[in-house]
Symmetry: C2
Subunit: 340 residues, 2 copies
Amino acid sequence: MLNERKIMVLQAIVDDYIRSAEPVGSRTIARRYNLGVSAATIRNEMADLEETGYIIQPHISAGRIPSDKGYRFYVDVLMEPEPIPEQKRMEIYQRVAAYSQEIELLVQEASRLLALLTNLVAIVVAPQIESCVIEQIQLLALDDNRVLVILVLHPGIVQNRIMRTAVRYEPPTLQRISQQLTDRLRGMTYRDLRSGLIREIHSEFGDLGATILDILVSELVDSRQEKVFLNGANSIFEQPEFKDVNRAKGFLDLLEQKGVVSDLINSLSKLTGVQITIGHENPIAGIHECSVVTSTYSIGNEVMGAIGVIGPTRMEYANVYSVVELIADSLSEILTELVK
Amino acid sequence: MLNERKIMVLQAIVDDYIRSAEPVGSRTIARRYNLGVSAATIRNEMADLEETGYIIQPHISAGRIPSDKGYRFYVDVLMEPEPIPEQKRMEIYQRVAAYSQEIELLVQEASRLLALLTNLVAIVVAPQIESCVIEQIQLLALDDNRVLVILVLHPGIVQNRIMRTAVRYEPPTLQRISQQLTDRLRGMTYRDLRSGLIREIHSEFGDLGATILDILVSELVDSRQEKVFLNGANSIFEQPEFKDVNRAKGFLDLLEQKGVVSDLINSLSKLTGVQITIGHENPIAGIHECSVVTSTYSIGNEVMGAIGVIGPTRMEYANVYSVVELIADSLSEILTELVK
DNA sequence: TTTAGCACTCGTCAGCCTAGAGTGCTAACA
DNA sequence: TGTTAGCACTCTAGGCTGACGAGTGCTAAA
C-alpha cells in the first residue's frame, strides 16, 4: 500500500512533528531529510498520504501532522525502541530498588521515576491485594480495649487495623484465635472471602473471631478501589498542546477522578508487554488526543499491577516505550526477588 | 490613624476585589456600597489610603487593589469569621470521621475536604512519628527466613517492616525478644532512639535484637522527612491570578518540592489556633503573592501536625479561616477520641 | 469639607495590514 | 511516466492603529 518513499516521507513527518510540535511542510522535509527528491515531489506524496488517512492538514495553508493512523503505522512498523545504555539501566534499577523496604513506596518511586524520565504523567496501579493469598493472621493486645489485627498476605504485603473491644482479651486467647483464623483462612484470597464463603465460616468462631472476619471483609471494601498514583502531573505544562489553561485543567480533572484512570489502565493492560494506545483508540472520551503507554508488572508469573504514562499523541514513542518497559521489568524483578 | 470612613472604603475595596479580582475604582464603590458620599470624595480617601500603604494602584489609570498591609488590616480588624451552619459542621465532621480506621487516611481525607471547600491548595502535614511514644514491639515469624517487625506507637500508629534473617527463629524466641525490646524501649520516642542512646542499648541484645534496633533507626530516617500531602492543586487554575500557565506551573513546581512546604507550614504553626500569613510575610520567596492559612491539630494536648491552605493573597479570608479552624478542630477531636 | 467638572492617562479590543509558510496546479523536462 | 520548477492562492501569526472606556488628579465652586 505504501511504497518505500511514502514511508520515508511519513517517517520524516512523524519524527519532525514529535520533535517540533509544528505542522511539517514539504519544503522542511526536502531541506532537512535529504530524500533525494524535491519539495514538489514530496508534496505529491503528502497529498496521497493525506488521502489515505495517514496525515492531516490542520488548516489549508499549513503543513501536515500525523493522524492516529499515522502514529499507529509509525509505532507498529517504523519505530525502533530506543536502547537505554547499560549504565543508565543500572541507575534506574538501583534507584527503584532503594525503596524495597515497602511495596507501596517501591511502586511510588517507580512512578516518580517514570514521570521524570518521560516528562509525561505517570500512572501506577499498586499491587491489587484482591488476588493476594492470605498467609497469616495475628492478633495483638494493645491495651484493655484495643486489639491490633495484622494480616499478612503472600507477596509480602502487611495490613493492620486497630479494633476496639468491649473487654480485655488475654494474649493466650488472642493467640488461639489467631491460630484458628490462620488455619482456616490460609491460602484464600480476598476475593474468596467476599464470595459468600465468609458467612459459612462465620459461625465457626466465637464473637471475637467473627468480628475480625468482618473487619477483614470491610478492609476488603477499601481495597476494592484500587490505589492509583499519579506523578508528574505538572510536567504536562511543558507540552505545547496544553498551553491552554482550560485544556490542561480539564485533562488534570479527568485524571483526578481516580476510577477513570484505573479503568483505563486495566482495560489496556490485559495483555503482557508494553501496550501503546493512540488517540481515538482510547476507550475514554476526553483523552482522544492523548496516547497511553502501559505495561504490567508481576511477582513471579502473576501480574500484580500496571504502570504507564499518558500524554499527547505527539510523544516520543520510541523513548517512552523503552522507559516503560525498563521500569516495569525492573519493578517485576525487584518484587519477585523481594518475596523469594 | 484610619478614620471611620477610610475604614469603610478599605473594607469596600477588599470585599469587592476578593469577589471580582478586578481593581476597584472610586465610582464602583460609590455606586455599589452606599457610603453616602460621592465618588470624588472616595477618590480623596483612596489617595490617602494609597499614601499610607493600604492599597495599591497597579497602573496609573486603574482602580486600586489591597496591599499586603491592607489585607493584614482587614484580617486583623475588619474580618468576621464566616459562621458555618451547624448542619454543615456536622457533615464535615462526619465525612472526616468516616476514615477513622487509619490515621493517614483520616488526615488525607481532611486535606481533600479542605481543598474542596476552599477551592485552594490544601496542605497537610501528617502526624510526626518522631515524637510518638513507643508502646510495643512485636516480632512475627513469616517463614524460614522472614520476620515481620511490628512497631506500635502511642497514638495508634502502627508500622511494620519485613526483615530477612539467615536462620529460622522459633515463635518462642521471637516472643522473648519482643518482650525484651518492648520492656526496654517502651515510653521512648523515636527522637530518643536517635540520640546515641541506641548504641548504649545495642549491646544488651543478641544478634537479632540488635538488628531490629537498627531497623527501627533506619525506619527513623524515612520518618525524618515529614509526610506532606497536597490536595486540590488543580483548583488554582480557577483563580484568575494563575491564568498564566507558566506562573501556575512555577507555583506547582515550588509546592512539589516537599521540603519547602513542610518548612513553611512548620515555621507558621508554632502558635496554636488559626494563623494567617499574607504575601511578603511569608518566609519563602516565590510565594510572596500568596497567603497561607494554617492551624495545628492535636491528640489530647499534644500537637501532632498541621493543616492549611495556600492561595493568592486575594482569597476569601473570612470563609477560609472558618473552614480551616473547623477542619483542624474536627481532626483533633476525632484523633483524640480515636486513641482514648 | 464636599462635590462637580474637566483634562489626562492607560489598557483593551477590534480591525487592518503584512510577512511568511505552505499548498495545489500546470507546464516543462528527463 | 515520473519529477521538477514556477506561480497564484490561502491562511495564520503578529504588529500596528485608533476608538473607547474606566479611572485618576486637580481645580474651583458650593
